[in-house]
């Protein structure tokens, strides 16, 4: 039983990363119709940023958790203005391709400066050790990540549900033409929303730094898993992305532990689930079928 709880907990933690990334991707897609291929690269920049702040300037984890997402959010807004915006009226494929090119550039820039080997990033002193839950104990840092990610997801959900910007995002996601027709200037919100999505990716990166190897390619394959997650949850569906993120995290962790003789099962389960979902509900579990464009 305690082994099962252990695997479940690990699954929820890795699901938290998937959920945070899928959430940012969905928020950006909802408002801009942009599938941001560079989302994994920004996640990587988050981790590398935290690492740099610590090694070059001695800035501890807690400050990095604040500074890095803010800096990446600003960078994201710049990227939106300079690169994404000029393509806004064209086929969304062009923005997908643009962010693919951007991914190669960002990865190689980091690679040029810091090489490809992984760098360790210590666990913040406050969170070393384990938390005892009576029957079982979990590493304190992972508990923190899980709680933090859940709080972040709930906060975003609340923002979208109860604030003006949330109303605009939801309206623009569901009925873009009508939203414009009602005189709401959707364009004004586009840049900050893109920056916000990037900041979420950066936040996930900072959270990952003490747990996962920090290197230029850490986001490269992850972003494809996240794509599969949002296809399962329904791209643009906030709830779907988060639920699918945690769900896939759980499935992968259980697969890794109970089918450990076939590691391939855990690696590919997300894609197999995606295939099944496509057969059964092509728009994703929580997505709505879009009008054919």
């Amino acid at each position: 039983m305690s082994a099962f709880l252990q695997h479940t907990f690990d699954g929820l933690v890795s699901g938290a990363f998937l959920a945070l990334l899928a959430l940012g991707l969905s928020v950006i897609f909802g408002m801009l119709r942009v599938v941001n291929f560079a989302h994994g690269a920004f996640y990587m920049l988050g981790a590398v940023g935290a690492y740099l702040l610590l090694t070059e300037f001695g800035v501890p984890f807690w400050w990095a958790l604040l500074i890095v997402p803010l800096a990446l959010g600003v960078l994201g807004m710049g990227v939106e203005r300079a690169l994404v915006h000029p393509l806004a009226r064209l086929d969304p494929l062009y923005n997908f391709l643009l962010t693919f090119g951007l991914t190669l550039v960002l990865q190689d820039l980091v690679k040029m400066r810091y090489g490809t080997q992984s760098s360790p990033y210590g666990t913040p002193a406050l969170l070393v050790g384990t938390v005892d839950f009576g029957l079982f104990d979990f590493p304190a840092y992972r508990v923190f990540v899980l709680v933090f990610a859940v709080v972040a997801c709930v906060a975003v959900w609340w923002l979208l549900g109860h604030t003006r910007i949330g109303m605009v995002v939801r309206a623009a996601t569901e009925r873009p033409e009508l939203t414009r027709a009602l005189g709401i200037d959707v364009g004004r919100w586009v840049t900050p929303v893109f920056g916000f999505g990037i900041a979420l990716a950066g936040l996930a990166g900072v959270l990952a730094a003490p747990m996962r190897a920090v290197n230029p390619l850490m986001g490269a394959d992850l972003v494809i898993v996240v794509f599969a997650v949002v296809v399962i949850g329904g791209l643009g569906s906030i709830f779907g992305s988060v639920a699918a993120g945690f769900g896939i995290g759980l499935v992968q962790a259980w697969g890794e532990s109970y089918l450990d003789r076939w590691p391939i099962v855990a690696q590919t389960s997300v894609f197999v689930i995606m295939a099944i979902v496509l057969l059964w509900r092509p728009a994703g579990l929580f997505g709505r079928e879009e009008a054919p464009a």
Binding site: R89, V105, Q107, L109, I224
Partner: protein, 324 residues
């Protein structure tokens, strides 16, 4: 929002222009290994076929496959394995590889064509990654990280060890593949594909089984990409996991966009330029190839979307006052 069409209908340039271009293209193809390292020339051949296969889907069916490495790489492994274990002439091994790629494209395409546009790109990408993990896992078959070593290159006892001679052995296969792509695009089937691309609802209303057409286009494209991938395996005599990685899919798309989406021959041009550029960069000792290709791609997408062939064709049209 009306989307600007990715391509215009092909309206014929004057007959003599087309024949001159074809003759010039063939002349360049025959001369190429004399002007470049033969090994680079062979790479250009393989990638050209890959790029044209991607454009067949992207430019003429309106489907951006971002997972075509699955077919290129699967064929590379399958051709390599057939060559190693069956010792057949290399074109047979390449054909077997392309057939394997086409067979793999049936289930992937069946699932992927249920989504369009950007979703299609994500779904194909995800399935390609699935194939990548499987290949990485089946070390007994694929050699895992070490790759598939010493692929033989047999052709009725002919000595093809020199890349220069292999180029001329591979050229007919590539030309055949390019001709097939041209035939597909300029057939009634190709017209239906363009119709589906421009207005799927109308195509459906006219009674065309849209999904089935898309699936067939997907499988044909995978077959052509497979031909290129199989030749690539023969050319290098080994196969690595890189052939299945998503950056490989992306590279083919870069070539298409660089050459011009929906121009068919633009992909050949894009392949030539990109392979040459990468070779030149690595020769100059510059390791961050992605920085250059990625940056180039960003610029092309932003300001030069019609690509080289598309821009040239436009100038030509204006010169001859052709309708678009």
């Amino acid at each position: 929002m009306r989307k600007p069409s990715l391509v215009r209908a092909a309206t014929g340039a004057p007959r003599w222009v087309r024949w001159t271009l074809l003759a010039a293209g063939l002349a360049v193809a025959v001369w190429l290994p004399n002007g470049l390292y033969a090994a680079v020339a062979v790479d250009i051949l393989c990638w050209a076929l890959f790029a044209v296969a991607v454009d067949l889907l992207l430019g003429f069916t309106g489907l951006l496959s971002f997972g075509h490495a699955a077919f290129w790489g699967t064929s590379a492994y399958a051709s390599g394995l057939v060559a190693i274990h069956a010792g057949v002439p290399f074109p047979v091994a390449v054909l077997a590889g392309a057939l394997a790629a086409a067979a793999l494209a049936v289930p992937i395409g069946y699932l992927a064509v249920r989504r369009t546009g950007i979703y299609f790109a994500m779904v194909t990408l995800a399935f390609a990654q699935l194939i990548y993990y499987v290949a990485n896992n089946q070390r007994g078959l694929t050699g895992g990280e070490n790759g598939l070593q010493s692929v033989p290159r047999e052709l009725f006892g002919l000595d093809l060890t020199d890349a220069y001679y292999f180029y001329y052995a591979a050229l007919p296969i590539v030309l055949l593949g390019l001709w097939a792509a041209w035939r597909i695009v300029n057939s009634p089937f190709g017209r239906v594909l363009v119709g589906i691309r421009d207005n799927p609802a109308r195509a459906r209303a006219l009674g065309y089984p849209v999904h089935r057409y898309k699936l067939l286009a997907f499988v044909l494209s995978a077959f052509l990409a497979g031909l290129g991938g199989g030749l690539f395996a023969m050319a290098h005599r080994f196969v690595t996991l890189d052939t299945l990685h998503w950056t490989t899919s992306g590279k083919a798309v870069v070539m298409v966009v660089l050459g011009g989406i929906g121009t068919l021959w633009g992909g050949v041009l894009g392949a030539g330029l990109l392979v040459r550029l990468e070779d030149w960069l690595s020769f100059a000792g510059f390791e961050s190839v992605g920085l250059v290709t990625g940056g180039l791609f960003v610029v092309v997408v932003l300001v030069f979307r019609r690509g080289l062939w598309g821009t040239a064709a436009d100038l030509l049209r204006r010169r001859f006052h052709l309708r678009r």
